[in-house]
């Protein structure tokens, strides 16, 4: 009997120490969620800190994108905080994992705005979660600088919503025009992700195709996270198209390219945007992604003052140079600039961001009336395991 009681006591102690450990854990983390630049965070007093939230997939299939975005923002914050911060205030990053799903995105944006008191949200990499989450940030009048490509995001009436990317309706015609004029394609099959991103990009492509003499003979879809594309590829092979447009992320692009090769489908693949502009594509796809054409908003090999500075900073902080890291870095710099001009009022910061005019790593940072960045994209191709600009 006595032994039994002791056993129960031990259980009880284990349980409570676990609870205490958990509580302690969450406290510590909420204090130093900006992990890398611990030195500069004096924390607590909200008057000397501006908190910015990151809504991005940190776990799951798309975790790599979240990681790259975090790297970029942290690089920018390290630099700004080192140079004295924004009007003397330090920037602090609060990371929120949206798992690339809508419900988690709503929850996490909610938490960051209402609980952590962030003044702006960066991210939303995937379009569908961003569309859902912007409702929360829009109601709270918090700036939401996202990185989704879907053209649908331009049509949403939310003055606080900005896009740190070119919109799909800029990317798609550019790449289609190149494919029609330089590669001479006529019959295209589109294979797209069955999400807001894929569907709207495909629609934009179909609209642009008419005037270019390109015809979409059929379209196939897949769900994010799918691993097997053989049924779609077999159908595509039977149609014998000139080219296949893949609207998707690098995981899927790499897998599709590999499986296409195995299925004996030997056509030109291209994609409308730069979501596959990552070393990961080359690692995963190997030589099967050779020749892949896509439109890109930036060129990491470009010789410019900003690019060199970014690369130097990345090297100092041991961060891999990736396209998305550079894009996020630019966004963070622009946001900091807007906060410098706008000060304590969210509305003033919003107005400052809307009229911002900077030269960033990626190119000119300017937002049009829809809150999108717009300038003509580059056309790039994978050649010998490198990303080469084939048309400026």
């Amino acid at each position: 009997m006595k032994r039994k009681r002791i056993g129960k006591l031990v259980n009880f102690i284990v349980f409570f120490s676990l609870v205490i450990f958990l509580v302690a854990c969450s406290n510590v983390d909420s204090k130093t969620s900006s992990d890398h630049d611990d030195k500069s965070t004096e924390s607590s007093g909200d008057s000397d800190v501006i908190k910015i939230g990151l809504q991005a997939p940190m776990t799951g299939d798309n975790a790599q994108y979240g990681e790259e975005m975090r790297n970029g923002i942290e690089l920018a914050f390290t630099k700004i905080n080192h140079d004295g911060g924004v009007n003397g205030k330090k920037l602090e990053l609060v990371v929120g994992d949206d798992k690339a799903t809508t419900s988690e995105a709503v929850a996490v944006v909610n938490k960051m705005i209402n609980n952590d008191g962030v003044r702006a949200i960066m991210g939303g990499y995937n379009s569908s979660p961003t569309i859902a989450a912007q409702e929360v940030s829009g109601q709270a009048e918090v700036i939401h600088l996202h990185m989704g490509a879907s053209p649908e995001l331009s049509t949403i009436e939310n003055d606080y919503l900005f896009r740190n990317l070119l919109t799909g309706s800029t990317y798609v015609p550019a790449v289609l025009e190149y494919m029609a004029k330089e590669e001479g394609i006529e019959k295209v099959v589109s294979l797209y992700e069955n999400t807001d991103y894929g569907v709207t990009m495909h629609k934009a492509a179909e609209e642009a195709a008419g005037s270019l003499g390109v015809e979409f003979i059929t379209n196939e879809t897949y769900n994010p996270g799918d691993k097997n594309f053989s049924s779609q590829l077999t159908k595509i092979k039977n149609l014998d198209p000139d080219a296949v447009m893949i609207v998707g992320l690098y995981n899927e692009v790499a897998l599709i390219s590999q499986q296409a090769k195995q299925a004996g489908l030997d056509v030109q693949f291209f994609s409308p945007d730069d979501s596959m502009y990552s070393e990961q594509l080359l690692l995963l796809g190997g030589d099967t992604v050779e020749g892949h054409i896509f439109a890109s908003m930036l060129n990491l090999e470009m010789e410019s003052e900003e690019m060199n500075e970014f690369k130097k900073l990345a090297e100092e902080n041991n961060v891999p140079v990736e396209a998305l890291t550079a894009i996020a870095y630019d966004g963070a710099i622009a946001l900091a600039k807007a906060f410098e001009e706008g000060g304590d009022s969210n509305e003033a910061v919003r107005d400052a961001l809307a009229t911002i005019d900077l030269t960033g790593v990626t190119g000119p940072i300017k937002f049009d009336e829809n809150g999108d960045r717009s300038y003509p994209p580059l056309i790039m191709q994978v050649q010998d395991d490198e990303f080469i600009v084939i048309q400026n």
């Binding site: 284990v14 909610n110 994010p224």
Partner: protein
């Protein structure tokens, strides 16, 4: 003090609980916390529903996320595609979920124990795949968005109550939770409820006593799915967006874990389980990479050391407390009961 003792601890707890529920919106001003509280209330309804099946009838289901999804999706579709109001979609969703629950129960409950678990698991996965792949209707991975809030309640010109903020949903959800608790109590105290408990404790004996085992189980499964329908409808109107990943296998496990951690066959247990798990999951948000790991570890440990959940633990302490007090008197409660020791 004496009066309090006469009143009994359980009633005192009830009064305290009532006061807390009433004053909660005044105490919490942070909208995020209110959001979490509302989520907890939805989970309580789900947990109560599953507990009727697991805790009181002894049938384990891993397909309740699918039923939850049916509730959420039918509300979402009725309100976005046909512009039906919340007060219409809620009963509609409940009826649809109940009907599907009946069909599933009718087919699945011919199986017992682990075979039933497998069948419900498969059924839950099928539903999830339907949500994910029937793009024309469910929107595929994008789900259904822009689900309207419940319409403003107007009683003449005296009262006007709109659903704009999270706090506005709180009274509505509390009302539904109280209703669910009330219905649950009614069911488990009825003859039908007793029959279910008998099936849980010994199916063969129950059959020998003349209880129609299969029929009872199917009815309970159907009632349980009605809870999921209500929870799903509330969830859809609260979040304004539904997407398939919410209703995947993980959700079924979460609901089941809430039942287990709280303590099967106990209303307070269901409330505690739903609260503890939701709060833990939200508190761990600041460490996204470790979140699921710590969460999983916590569940494993609780299951290892307290397989009967919090209410089981409480019961153990209470029993000891009583035993210590009445050590010299004749103890009648020594009668050994099979199955769960608390009702």
């Amino acid at each position: 003090m004496k009066k309090m003792k006469e009143l009994g601890y359980s009633k005192m707890g009830l009064i305290i609980g009532g006061i807390v529920l009433f004053f909660l919106p005044f105490l919490i001003t942070n909208p995020y916390f209110i959001y979490v509280v509302n989520l907890i209330l939805i989970y309580i309804i789900l947990t109560l529903g599953l507990d009727l099946l697991v805790g009181y009838t002894g049938q384990v289901s891993l397909g309740h996320a699918g039923l939850f999804g049916i509730g959420a999706y039918s509300t979402a579709l009725f309100s976005t595609k046909l512009d039906y109001s919340f007060w219409v979609t809620l009963p509609l969703a409940t009826i649809i979920t109940t009907m599907i629950g009946f069909v599933v129960g009718f087919i699945g409950l011919k199986l017992v124990e682990e075979y039933l678990v497998m069948a419900t698991l498969a059924f839950g996965t099928i539903l999830w795949l339907v949500f994910l792949n029937w793009s024309d209707l469910t929107g595929g991975p994008m789900g259904v968005s822009a689900i309207p809030a419940p319409p403003t309640i107007r009683i003449g010109s005296i009262l006007e109550y709109g659903f704009n903020k999270y706090i506005d949903y709180y009274p509505l959800f509390v009302a539904f939770v109280l209703l669910s608790i009330f219905v649950t109590r009614l069911i488990i105290r009825s003859g039908f409820g007793r029959a279910c408990t008998a099936i849980r404790d010994d199916e063969l004996a129950a059959q020998a006593m003349g209880i129609p085992v299969f029929k009872t189980k199917v009815v309970m499964f159907t009632i349980s799915s009605a809870y999921c329908g209500v929870a799903g409808a509330l969830y859809a109107h609260f979040l304004h967006v539904v997407s398939p990943e919410t209703f995947a296998f993980a959700m079924s496990v979460t609901i089941l874990t809430m039942v287990m951690i709280g303590g099967q066959g106990s209303i307070i247990g269901a409330i505690l389980g739903a609260t503890l798990l939701t709060v833990t999951s939200e508190a761990l948000r600041s460490t996204p990479e470790l979140r699921m790991m710590i969460y999983g570890l916590l569940i494993i440990l609780v299951m290892m050391f307290f397989p009967r959940g919090i209410m089981g633990l409480m019961h153990l302490f209470k029993e000891k407390f009583i035993k210590n007090k009445t050590v010299n008197t004749v103890v009648n409660s020594e009668v050994k009961k099979e199955g769960l020791r608390y009702e």
